[in-house]
Symmetry: D2
């Protein structure tokens, strides 16, 4: 008789339920991790609403913190009982994409017209982390031991939120002395702000309208916070930069308005670093694009994964350079996950991120 576990399962659009599933078997390169803390991502809400398609019956979630329960027969360098995290994106390490440094686009090669994000597997193409147990593929490339002294909640943002947010700053190639604008201050946007600060930006302008987010934005490093409900964002940023525009604009929402505003405030030669998951075609206005003559760069980044990335992010936390605990505003048990989806999906009660503990 197979042992069972509880898991949050996508049943159909607008229905994710907690149900039972068999605890998975462990292949030679896998590790089974007992989840101790996980969370819900904005992308999970896209899945819930049916805006991003996944298979029915799939376990959702891609942000695991837990303890190694069982290691595959070919896995070396770990021990059962070790506290670990794995990134939302789980590179194999041995694909051609990985070996040329493109860790997030691993897995089966893009087939024209098919789902392309080979590296994003948890809660996308294989069962995810909102469960009692999680099977981690290519464990040696993905399990990262949690440094002594760090709690689950201290590292809970590493697998996705912090990795993605920081990558907005990194892909923007921010340099000391840069002026940076960050559009939207949800969890990822807030981590983009923190990343911009960590990389040496000296004028950071952020945009949101929720007072609590605007407040945390300042703590994360914003020098100026614009309330888009009260000011013309483009005008205000141009004013704050003496008409010069920003060196790097980070889009952290996934909407036409923010994408377009990011382009409009970009100085010639600047970089628009896009983190948003879009759900519609985008328009690039001719004037904002300077007719293609502005030496602009637009770069999109999928959450960087792999154990080395996780090691570095946890080092940032351990060093005290950044504390992401203020982002965890609500706590639920796994049994309450449907309630958690309801709160998070409707963005009620000032929620930023929820902690889910099986």
């Amino acid at each position: 008789m197979t042992a069972k576990m509880k898991a949050a399962i996508f049943v159909e659009p607008n229905r994710i339920v907690l149900d039972e599933k068999p605890i998975p078997d462990v292949g030679p390169l896998d590790a089974l991790v007992r989840i101790t803390t996980t969370t819900i991502c904005g992308t999970d809400i896209h899945i819930l609403k049916g805006e991003y398609p996944v298979a029915r019956g799939l376990t959702i979630g891609h942000e695991p913190v837990g303890i190694i329960e069982k290691l595959g027969s070919a896995v070396e360098g770990y021990r059962e009982g070790q506290r670990v995290i794995a990134g939302a994106i789980t590179p194999s390490g041995h694909s051609n994409a990985c070996l040329c440094g493109c860790l997030s686009q691993d897995g089966p090669r893009m087939k024209y017209g098919f789902k392309p994000m080979g590296g994003w597997r948890f809660g996308n193409t294989i069962d995810g982390a909102q469960a009692e147990y999680l099977l981690v593929p290519d464990a040696m490339a993905n399990l990262s031991p949690i440094p002594d002294g760090l709690s689950d909640e201290q590292v809970l943002m590493c697998p996705d939120i912090m990795s993605t947010g920081f990558s907005g700053a990194e892909s923007g190639r921010i340099r000391i002395g840069d002026t940076v604008a960050v559009f939207a201050q949800g969890p990822i946007g807030l981590c983009a702000t923190a990343g911009a600060k960590l990389m040496g930006a000296t004028k950071i302008i952020t945009v949101d309208s929720v007072p609590s987010r605007m407040e945390i934005s300042r703590r994360m490093g914003a020098d100026h916070v614009i309330d888009f409900s009260k000011a013309d964002v483009v005008d205000e940023i141009m004013r704050l930069t003496d008409g010069r525009g920003v060196d790097v604009a980070i889009e952290a929402l996934g909407r036409q308005e923010t994408f377009e505003a990011a382009l409009r405030v970009l100085r010639p030669g600047g970089t628009l670093s896009s983190l948003g998951v879009y759900s519609k075609d985008l328009t690039i206005p001719l004037d904002a694009f300077l007719a293609g003559l502005g030496d602009h760069t637009i770069v999109t980044t999928l959450c960087p994964g792999g154990k080395e990335r996780m090691r570095r992010l946890m080092d940032v936390i351990a060093s005290g350079r950044l504390d992401t605990r203020p982002l965890v505003t609500h706590r639920f048990t796994l049994d309450q996950i449907e309630e958690a989806y309801d709160l998070f999906g409707h963005q009620r009660d000032g929620v930023l991120k929820v902690a889910i503990t099986p």
Copy 2:
């Protein structure tokens, strides 16, 4: 009495005429160059048609080859009588943009809503090269002596066509072993193909439908040339790359169709290097953009200028690595320039580039 010279002048949309103008005075940082050969650019046709606005009465043209007639009082390091070229883009060298390496976006800072391309001055914001004499601003940053033994026609593509085309490959950061697609094989696209070959791309796929351009494309380095009038370009490129897509896609036309196809054939993690001058808003289709999750880079590049760029490009010619003379298909005197505009503007008679000699 002021001496006069002939110049091709923008009168109004659809009217560029040869007329007389005073030979300009030479300021302390300027040089007056007697034009020996120049040419007409596709951008000049945009100006002619009124699609790109310039002041009435402006002399058109930004591709000068000539002889130094007179040096400004503060100009050192040159002598009158020297054969020189200057790039289409004339950086000052001393602006903040220049000093952080953004040479093409020099000049007055971008003012929100204003014309931003400060570095492009000839035939845009100051009088251009389709004339008997050209005033070169910031001469010390822009005049590049022609190496002995190179003819005017051998270096005529350097100021714009070759500099822009090569930059498509350079901004794409092509590496040895890359697969590259180049969309459109006009003069700039052909130089992008040559640039991709020079940087070590091992599979170069080009797209056009004019047989003579397709033929030159092969000579410039294309391994596969697709006739878009006879094949589905995206399908064909995906087939030629075993469904993998290209590492770098270069857009060299400035149209929605080519921009979109370039994005559709790009592998996750790849770069779309855009050279085109667009005249309408662009659409980024959600699926081609992989919803923003494809680790894509889109980069636009305005023709790199300055004397060091010109020196390097002329070195490429002098080394025998590339011969751009096949691009010069027709020759006119300056007196015949209206005829030349007619031929070039209507792309008659297999024209690629014309040489104009005052």
Copy 3:
């Protein structure tokens, strides 16, 4: 009758004296700056001792803060009376080196066997800043207005110390999460530490033995400070990194011992960023160099100059990200400069940097 000014002049090895000189004439591209504050650099001590050769009679000093007294006839964009700084290195902006981004190596091309550092002119090849007036060449590329509200002492480290120190971190290409060691915590080493912190290093290990410097080092961002007089530095760094070594090692002294130790603690694939001015041949030990098989990078950086660099550094100060005033430990008038040289040259009284006010 020519007006005179006081200036600190190199007479012969071990003799720099305050003397009178004519106030220089202003050429078309120059600006005359009335010095309000300047300082003495370690390099000036090399000059004083005759270890670095300069012409007899030269005015020393390359760290100017002052007020524009007179602008050359071709200089635009400034006004007399403006408070400005200029970098220690004064790129022309229009040389081939400048136009390919190598701003510090401007000026006459390297001639085999000659002094090569074309970009370093003040107090090296032309009269310097330890005087009542300073002639700034290529003023449009070099004068950077001081933001309102910043005092002379707040920006006094920008022209050299902060620009050089930061470049140690920048040339090391420090990334978020890196472990960095900085060898020597004099003024430049301290700014390298601050730069490493600003760029996101999460473990910064510094090395010195002077208690006051070790103390400031912690304030500048050091996580661990090693006293080389009490511990084996290499052993200690390897211990602190669990035998892994550092990602980036910054050399800020210019000695064999520090260069060698930096190499010995470098992880395979790491970068040794060297700032020191050496006065002897260096030895690369075979084992430390891993026989040339360690994927190591050794990079040297001369102080980056130019007005854009100065603008950025003053923005860092203005943003409050860094306060360099603790580095100014002593103050003198220009009349007391020989006394200042004596104190600074012998590193007495815990001196870090002196402020000299004409």
Copy 4:
């Protein structure tokens, strides 16, 4: 009874003999490859002479071409009977070093004082390729199928010679229009020359004294070939560059003389890309190093490995951009390998590389 195979074994300094060994067992992540062609490397001669220490009894060789005989139980994506190569360096794909892009420095972390080159395993820390069979670790990261139509000898240079040689150009970040010097034109130097040409260098100056190598050097892309036995190399390169020096200097021998000459001809801001395996401490002369003020970069590169690298290099061959067959000057059976070592070790008879066929 265990099956046996023939293998070239290091017995003691100056003694490598052909002997019998058991055919190795295949672990879950391994593949057993039947060698069809291999070769001897200059590094193997260092091992033979005892200059580079390996364990007694080790099978030598790191350049395998062969056929998959048996796949480990966890290896997917290959089939037995497939023709493959593996790089000389075999990254695991899942180490922290690999996951931050440092593929050659994989394996056990550097321990202070220990052999650091974790990524180089064949014929260094595990049995190598000069045998009838080779056990390839981490097969999924390392086996690269040979494209149809390419012979063993066409791809024989890919695992090391071409990968290392090209990396000399790549680590030098050669750009279109660069001037490059390559010191020594043995097999690796010749591939560095070819790599420089492929990346767009327009003036390539090579240095050797063996007439046959000088002749092949021209075919590989050299514009000027200097015979160091007949000319002062530094003087000659400075003359050929009008006193300007080279943008990139590639060292491909591993000696003080070539390292030093490479530094002496480097322009300020240039890069010395070092490929040599050194056997003594190196000296950096103060003047050649410009006292540390020359904005120089010195970078060493260990042969890049992994299946994606091999795929790219074989694509270069398949595209016809480069033919390395002229480098294979002699052929032996595995039974004759001691004779092959004798010829190759003494560099007799104009040998460049030998092909060994079991």
